[in-house]
């Protein structure tokens, strides 16, 4: 199990959110999630400009095995997507917390961030899942 960066917040469904200096929220899936999914072969990203609701499915990652919906941790507008994943979805397997990010949201309600799990709480969740 790799280290979970302390500046990240999480959804129970394994998405991470990082609040950038400019207030935008970058979103990806956890290292634990990529390991569970296995080799990723396809990513369906949202449209730039799309408005999203916290907790709604906005992207899909597919491994050889299965397709998984990716939920947005916050409401707002999609301002950037990681186009590099279109040709190299395996980057998520290699660097889930870094280069493997999926999309960036301009949040409309920053209070939603308070509902997310801390890195410690998320670590505890996956610890329990493994038993």
């Amino acid at each position: 199990m790799s280290e979970i960066p302390g500046d990240l917040k999480f959804l129970k469904s394994h998405e991470w959110a990082r609040v950038e200096d400019d207030g935008l929220v970058r979103v990806g899936i956890s290292d634990h999630a990529q390991a569970a999914l296995g080799d990723l072969v396809y990513v369906e990203l949202p449209e730039i400009g799309a408005s999203v609701q916290a907790g709604n499915g906005v992207a899909v990652v597919e491994s050889v095995k299965a397709a998984s919906d990716i939920y947005s941790p916050v409401s707002g507008e999609i301002v950037e997507v990681n186009e590099a994943l279109t040709d190299k979805p395996e980057v998520i397997n290699e660097d889930a917390f870094g280069e493997g990010w999926l999309f960036v949201v301009r949040p409309s309600d920053r209070a939603e961030l308070d509902d997310l799990l801390s890195a410690d709480a998320y670590a505890e969740q996956i610890e329990n899942e493994d038993h």
Binding site: V60, K65, T86
Partner: protein, 366 residues
């Protein structure tokens, strides 16, 4: 309660990711399904398939019984050790299971059937066997390891007692023989498999399975999970029970017409229904599809054709072809341009003849 094969601890020690597979706790992969898939296509990999059910049939009327039970004809089995692939049908011509039958002698045959269908298969076989006084004996004390890939046979033969090697080397496809393995353990080696590669499926008494697995690892055979087994068999154009066929699908509709033997005077279960369906014209066909766009074809997706709707049966990303492939069941007749509905988007797919991959290479037209 989840069942475990005798190799369960071995899989865990190797770091396997375990999943529930039809009530069995089985390895889905040991880190990378993709690498395991390529190991089988390029060299040699092995699968624990001990969850499959081995059933021995005994009695003087066993051949007569199998003539009735199976849609394929056991009369094709003339030499001891020969094997045959067949469907076992219900009276409606639906597939109860697909299986391999091995011929020892007229009073002794062996069936290997799927894991998830074990209980219903046994119940059906036992019911049908009564009229023939055939003894149906499950053999849970056997483990089974499939070793597959272009170098699989060589690596297995290296583990067999020297005096027996030439005999096993000469074993033809779909034939089996007994031979002593490492430390003299008794192996039943069959030149069969489920990956489209050459190789052996080995039945071994449980108490020797861990030692055999280790000997195969030492011989350079890569442990592979059931994830890779699924992508390999799909590329190879082989049906998966429960996904590509079931009790409401006939062999005609599952592209298994080649396994039906309509030999004269043999009244097998389901024959009348099959003949009626053929006379009436088979309404649904199973086809191969390739998606050239990005995306993955999955079981249950809707397929749109000029003749109406069908659905994806087995579908996956193909590691060898690096694009999505699938089986689909669609209405018979000229299908026109075919599209698949993937989460509300209709993507064009190509209808192809499968297998998709043979001997490690894409087939023509794929």
């Amino acid at each position: 309660m989840t069942a475990k094969t005798v190799l369960n601890d071995t899989h865990r020690a190797l770091g396997a990711r375990m999943v529930d597979f039809g009530g069995w706790d089985m390895p889905i992969n040991y880190g990378s399904q993709m690498e395991e898939h390529h190991a089988v296509r390029g060299d040699a990999g092995m699968f624990d398939v001990s969850h499959m059910t081995v059933i021995d049939l005994h009695g003087p009327r066993t051949r007569e019984f199998l003539r009735r039970l199976l849609a394929n004809s056991v009369d094709k089995l003339k030499v001891a050790g020969k094997a045959l692939y067949s469907c076992m049908l219900n009276e409606r011509g639906g597939v109860i299971d697909d299986l391999i039958v091995y011929f020892f002698d007229d009073a002794h045959y062996r069936l290997v059937v799927n894991a998830a269908t074990r209980a219903k298969d046994l119940a059906w076989i036992e019911t049908q066997a009564r009229a023939f006084d055939v003894t149906v004996k499950e053999r849970p004390e056997f483990a089974m390891i499939a070793v597959q890939g272009p170098n699989a046979r060589g690596k297995v033969i290296g583990l067999i007692a020297e005096a027996d090697r030439p005999r096993i080397e000469k074993l033809g496809k779909f034939a089996a023989a007994a031979a002593p393995g490492p430390h003299g353990m008794p192996l039943f080696v069959a030149r069969t498999g489920y990956t489209g590669e050459d190789g052996f499926e080995i039945i071994v008494p449980e108490e020797h399975a861990v030692a055999l697995w280790q000997a195969l690892v030492d011989a350079g055979v890569r442990p592979c999970g059931l994830g890779a087994r699924d992508t390999l068999r799909l590329e190879a154009g082989m049906n998966l029970y429960g996904q590509d066929m079931d009790e409401d699908v006939s062999p005609w509709e599952a592209n298994l017409g080649w396994t039906i033997a309509l030999d004269e005077g043999r009244d097998f279960i389901g024959r009348a229904a099959l003949e009626a369906q053929k006379a009436d014209g088979v309404k649904r066909v199973m086809v191969g599809l390739v998606l050239d766009d990005k995306g993955v074809l999955r079981h249950g997706q809707k397929v749109l054709t000029a003749q109406g709707e069908g659905e994806i049966l087995s579908g996956s990303f193909s590691p060898t072809l690096e694009k999505a492939i699938a089986f689909a069941r669609i209405p018979a007749g000229e299908p026109g341009d075919i599209r698949v509905d993937i989460r509300g988007r209709e993507l064009p797919v190509r209808l192809v003849k499968y297998p998709f991959v043979r001997d490690g290479k894409p087939c023509e037209g794929i």
